[in-house]
C-alpha cells in the first residue's frame, strides 16, 4: 500500500512540470504582458516601458525564464506576484481556506441531493418519478452556474431577503448560496452515477440472500446495496471535490467569493505569469492528492481492492 502511495506521489512530478510549462507557454503566447498591464495609462515612452521589461527580466528567452522558475519551485520558492509583489504562496494560502470551505460545503450539498435521488431512481427504474429525477438532475448540469447563481440571488437575496448576496462573510449564511449553486452543478453526474451503480447492484444475488435472511428492506438498500455501489459514487464525488478545490472561478465571481479561482482569474487577466503558474501548480498538486485519497478510500469500502493493493505491494 505504501509503495502505491509513494508511486502516485512521484507521478506528481511530471504532471507539475507539464502543467507549469503549459501555463508558461500559453501566458507567453497571449497578447500583452504584465508590463503592459502595469504601465497601461501611465505616461511613459516606449523606451521607458522597454526598460521596465528589461529590469523584470522579461526580455530573456522563454526557456531560460521557465528554467529559472522551475528551479525556484523545486526549492519551494514559487516567486512573487509581479503586481502586488507579495509571495505567491502567501497569496494562495490566504485564499485557500475559503475555497476549501466552499468545496466541502458544495460537496455536502451534492451528496445529500444526489445519492438519495440516484437510489430512488434506480429503485423505480423506468417510472415517471425516475424520469423526472433524471430530468431534474440534467437540469442542474445544463444550467450555467452564473445564471443559476444569479437566479438564486434574485430569489433569496432580493425578493425573500433571507440570505446575503455575497459569499465573503464569515457566517454560515453567506456560504449557502455559493455552495448550493456549485452543488447543483455537480449533482447531475453524481445522481446518474449513483443510479447506474445501484441498478447494477440491485440485480445481484447477495441482495436476495440478505432479504431471505429477513434484513429490513431499508437496510438492504442503504447498507448491503449502497456499500457495493460506493466505488463509482466515491470516484465521482471525489473528482468533483478535487475540481472544487481548484476553485470555481465563475461562482466566485458571481458571489464575490474570495477563493483561489478568482485569484487565478485575476492573475491571468493581469498577465501575472508567476502567480498564475503558482496557482495552477498548487491546484494540480491538491487535485492529485485528493484523488489519491479517494483511491485509498476504495480500500476501506471494498476489501477486494485492499487485497489488490496489498498484492501489488508484495510483487514489487
Amino acid at each position: 500500500m505504501w509503495r502505491y502511495i509513494v508511486k502516485r506521489i512521484l507521478m506528481l512530478i511530471p504532471v507539475v512540470i507539464g502543467a507549469s510549462l503549459l501555463v508558461f507557454c500559453v501566458m507567453n503566447l497571449s497578447k500583452g504582458d504584465v508590463v503592459s498591464v502595469i504601465t497601461a495609462g501611465a505616461d511613459m515612452t516606449n523606451e521607458q516601458i522597454e526598460a521596465v521589461r528589461e529590469a523584470m527580466g522579461l526580455n530573456r528567452p522563454l526557456l531560460v525564464r521557465y528554467g529559472e522558475y522551475l528551479f525556484g519551485m523545486l526549492r519551494g520558492d514559487f516567486g512573487k506576484s509581479a503586481i502586488s509583489n507579495e509571495p505567491v504562496l502567501k497569496l494562495f494560502f490566504t485564499r485557500f481556506p475559503a475555497t476549501v470551505k466552499l468545496a466541502i460545503a458544495s460537496s455536502i450539498v451534492n451528496i445529500v441531493l444526489s445519492i438519495p435521488l440516484g437510489i430512488f431512481s434506480a429503485r423505480h427504474q423506468g417510472s415517471v418519478a425516475d424520469n423526472a429525477a433524471m430530468v431534474f438532475a440534467l437540469m442542474g448540469l445544463s444550467m450555467p452556474a452564473f445564471w443559476l447563481g444569479l437566479m438564486l440571488m434574485v430569489l433569496f437575496c432580493v425578493n425573500l431577503q433571507w440570505l446575503p448576496a455575497t459569499g465573503g462573510g464569515t457566517d454560515f449564511k453567506s456560504i449557502i448560496l455559493p455552495a448550493v449553486t456549485m452543488g447543483i452543478g455537480m449533482m447531475a453526474t453524481t445522481t446518474r452515477t449513483t443510479r447506474s451503480a445501484m441498478l447494477d447492484v440491485l440485480r445481484q444475488d447477495y441482495l436476495r440472500t440478505a432479504r431471505a435472511k429477513g434484513v429490513p428492506e431499508k437496510k438492504v438498500i442503504n447498507l448491503h446495496a449502497l456499500k457495493n455501489a460506493m466505488i463509482p459514487i466515491l470516484t465521482t464525488v471525489g473528482t468533483q471535490l478535487a475540481k472544487a478545490f481548484g476553485g470555481g472561478a465563475v461562482i466566485e465571481m458571481v458571489f464575490a467569493y474570495p477563493g483561489v479561482g478568482k485569484l487565478l482569474l485575476d492573475a491571468i487577466n493581469n498577465r501575472d505569469t508567476t502567480l498564475a503558474c503558482g496557482c495552477i501548480v498548487l491546484q494540480t498538486t491538491i487535485t492529485v492528492v485528493v484523488l489519491l485519497i479517494v483511491d485509498i478510500l476504495y480500500a476501506f469500502v471494498d476489501p477486494r481492492v485492499k487485497a489488490q493493493y496489498a498484492k501489488g505491494g508484495k510483487k514489487k
Binding site: Q204, D205, Y206, R208, T209, A210, R211, A212, K213, G214, V215, P216, E217, H224, K227, N228, V301, D302, P303, R304, A307
Partner: protein, 335 residues
Amino acid sequence: METKNTVLDIENLSVEFHVDGEIAKSVTDVTIKLHEGTTLGLVGETGAGKTTTALAALNLIQCPPGVIKADKIEVCGNDMLHAKQHELEKIRGKDISMIFQDPMTSLNPVFDVGTQIQESILLHEKLSREEAWEKAMQMLELVGIPRERGHEYPHQFSGGMKQRVVIAISLACTPKVLIADEPTTALDVTIQAQVLEMMKELRDKYGTAMIMITHDLGIVAESCDYVAVMYAGRIIEYGTLDEIFNNTRHPYTEGLFNSLPNIHNRVGKLKPIPGMMPDPRSIPEGCAFADRCPYATDECRRTLPETLKVNDDHVVACLRYNEPDFMIERSRKNG
C-alpha cells in the same frame, strides 16, 4: 405422518411474470405440504419452476413483474401471502430460510463472512453483538470452517467454503423450514458429498424440514423422504421416495431415470428425453409433456391431465392412466 406439525403449506400456487405484454406462466397450481423433519425433493429440468416455487414460499418474488396467486402459503402457521413487509422480515431467516444455488454470487463481497452470519442472528434473536458474533463463530465451526476465518471476506474463500458460509447463514437461527436450491450444483463432486452429508447431519440435529431442489436424482435418493417431479410449472408426479423410484408412473419421470448413465451398461448410450420444455409464455392447453412423450395420444394434446391417486403415498398427473391396462415400460420391468 399426520401427527407431525405441518411447517410449510402451499395450496394451488401459481406464479406468472408479466413482461412486455407477455405472460410467462412459471408455476401453475402447485400444492406442497411439508411436515416437521421431513425432506422433499423437488426435481425437474432447468426452467421447470422449482426455484420460483421456493421463492414464492418466502414471498421473495419481485412483484411486478411477478404475480403470485395462491389459496394459501403458510410457514409455521404464518400467512406469507398477506403478511406485511415487516412481518415477512421477521419470518424470513427465522422460520424459513433458503440456500441459494450459486455460492459465488450469494454472499455480499463487502462484508466479512462473520458479519453476514451475525447479522441474521442479530435480526432474529435477542442477543448482544458479542453473543451474536460468538454464535456466528459456532455456526462457522459447525459447517467446518475454523473460526479464525470469520473476519475474512468472501473473495478469500473457495466455492465450497462459500457454500458452507451460505449454509451457516441460513441455519444460524435454526429455521423450521430450509429450502436448498441446488446446493451442490456449483460445487465439484468431492465437495458435493461433504456438503450433503453436513446438511443431513444438521437436519437430524435440529429437526428441520427441508425442500431439496435438484435435478440430480442421486441426491434425491440419498437424502429425501418425498419426491415431487415438476414439469413446465406443474407437479406431475408426487410420492414417497420409494414409490417414485420403484413404482414410477409418469412418462416424464421415467425419462429422467432413463437419461441417467447406467453403471451396469457402460457401452450403452445415454437416452436423453427428446425435444425441449415448452416456452413458459406459450404452454399448450393439454399435457405440457405430450410433445416429448412416447406414450402420448391425441387426447393428451387436448386435455389437461388431472391428478390421479395411485395409492395413499403417490399421485400422478397423466391421462393415460384412465385406461385400465396402461403401464409405462419402467414399471412393467419393475413389476
